[in-house]
Symmetry: C3
């Protein structure tokens, strides 16, 4: 792995210009933040979860983000319908495996979703990705547990198994597919002190995937922008709440120069 530069800014510019619709079926905790992060990026968030309308809504969208943070049987049913519509339309489907490994219900439903629909990007922290890969690791809350396996190998295995891109968030983010690998080393520890940054990362990836066919590049570019904004925000904040406010503000006005100067990517 060596240091590389990725062209993140042109994708951000494309989101700001094209305002892609990013359809979400997500959890009730961070649903506002997921919508708002897409909005401040310049995209058009839509959060609709009734099984009666999700297929048609996905048909209006440029990407679909699924997050299992507060899963119910009804919501997973709607997710399958939305994912199937997204698959038919050929738009990317992002799964945030939020809390995978915490309960057997959640695991079972996640696997059902992965088996019945084509997921294009699976995103989680180390323990969530381990669980989705079929490893027997339990999550403590929604925070990352420790995983002793070689994470890159684990993520690569899952990418091959599910024929998708895999994103493992953490101090260093792994973005991997059959043929690509990026490590994103941006970010700030304060991100772990506020609820929702993980969910927002998936929504950001959804917005970038809406404008870029190379899904590993899209995911890496999204993480770079989001985490550089976090670095800028942390400099001006007094705690997690002011940090979060500044994270939105910084992402809103993030420019090419800052992205190129601060990005830390290996590939």
């Amino acid at each position: 792995m060596k240091k590389i530069k990725i062209d993140a800014y042109p994708l951000l510019e494309k989101i700001r210009k094209e305002k892609p619709v990013v359809h979400h079926l997500t959890n009730w905790v961070t649903i506002y933040d997921c919508a708002n992060i897409v909005k401040v990026l310049g995209g058009s968030p839509v959060m609709a979860h009734a099984k009666e309308e999700v297929a048609q809504m996905a048909g209006l969208a440029s990407s679909l983000v699924l997050n299992i943070g507060t899963l119910t049987p009804e919501l997973i049913e709607a997710m399958k319908i939305a994912a199937s519509a997204a698959n038919k339309k050929g738009i990317p489907v992002i799964l945030d495996a939020c809390g995978a490994g915490a309960t057997s219900f959640r695991d079972k439903k996640s696997f059902e979703l992965l088996d019945e629909a084509k997921i294009d990007i699976i995103k989680g922290n180390a323990s969530e990705i381990a669980r989705i890969s079929g490893e027997g690791i339990r999550t403590k809350g929604v925070d990352a547990g420790r995983v002793n396996k070689d994470l890159v190998q684990l993520a690569k295995k899952l990418a091959l198994q599910r024929k998708c891109a895999v994103v493992v968030t953490g101090k260093e983010d792994i973005v991997v597919s059959e043929n690509n690998l990026y490590l994103v080393k941006n970010g700030h520890p304060m991100m772990a002190d506020v609820v929702g940054t993980g969910c927002m990362a998936a929504s950001v990836i959804g917005a970038f995937a809406a404008v870029e066919n190379d899904l590993t590049l899209a995911a890496a570019a999204g993480l770079v922008c989001f985490e550089i904004a976090a670095e800028c925000a942390a400099k001006k904040s007094l705690g997690p709440a002011s940090f979060k406010e500044k994270l939105f503000d910084c992402l809103y006005s993030l420019d090419r120069k800052t992205i190129n100067r601060l990005q830390k990517v290996e590939g």
Copy 2:
């Protein structure tokens, strides 16, 4: 149309003094902001959606706000029950046609609601109001599409058809009923860069309608206050998130002098 002054402050004062209960059945995305905007205005927000209790809750309220942003069949059922109870009690019912036109499910359920209950104020952006009027325009996400019709005429038509007041939000807001017309020209472009300002506008209108029988005056006065607060907030903000925080703070302490100095209304 000529420039006029409306007496918005006395209504705001009345909300602060009487603390009217504003009952909401709304979406899961901006539910907190809808409650909080009513609270900082001085009102008492109640968000309850179980069909088993909405009639009784509406019976405790001074107005009812319905928002179809994340509609489900169960929620629309509860909305009908709440609206019917509100109609019986004689309190105003405000419908935020959030996302109307996006899916046929949403349209169908909106029309059902409008047919089965008396809605006193219908509020939406241009494309949503067009759809509710029966025009065949599709919404892109929750953002306003472009509408070529004469918007005032369209809103007036809907007002006559449904015997209600109609509010079309946009750069200039139209507030119209059979006999009244206001144009509210306050506001700030930053309002479109943060999720929830549209939903909050409906909740603000709900709070004003709770204390004023002239529903077009109530709606115009609510928009004037909300959008003047937005103008004040924009001057102090660095981006959409700090703007939103300051919007709440500014509305909380909005005074008569500021309202009278900054209001831009035609009628």
Copy 3:
């Protein structure tokens, strides 16, 4: 009653060190704030409400917080299952009687919950606690009504009746059990001007109860920390929204010295 000092800081330190999982089944309005307040305290919030997984999730937790703010029959069913699992595991169950007294559905379901599961701490404002005690007082929205009864006696009666600790929030908070009584006199009026502080207080109590077996001490210590953070925040805020942001920031960095200097407890 005389002024006393309670050892709140060691409990806060314990939360920061042990990061206990606090499982919530709560309302859709303040769900984010409930999660985030636990997170900034240093705990691990989990918000899961599907009846299929709540028992297992409660099994991973160190305390369980139930909040009936936006109750449905499905949610109360899941609450019973979660509470039963929590009872079996022996972790404390906190009930925020949010909006009790507003509707007969809410009252009936609250009583069912109290009859079918062991609740360890019941928390509410004066009118909510009066209703849960079986008094015939109606709530106006979610704000505290006036209660003419001697509140301490009322709370004590409920504590004996339900064999639990009872917390009555207000200008002065009452924390009472069969054998203990604390009055917490910290806090700031601005707390009543922003939606969610009541719900957050219950989550804070949940986090403290997760690390301390003496539940009245846990509740009093939690309220002391939360309300001292509110006092610090109020000094730096321009209105309810900036107050709320600073409340999170202040709680995040609250230290032993500030707690000991500012606490106002009687016992």
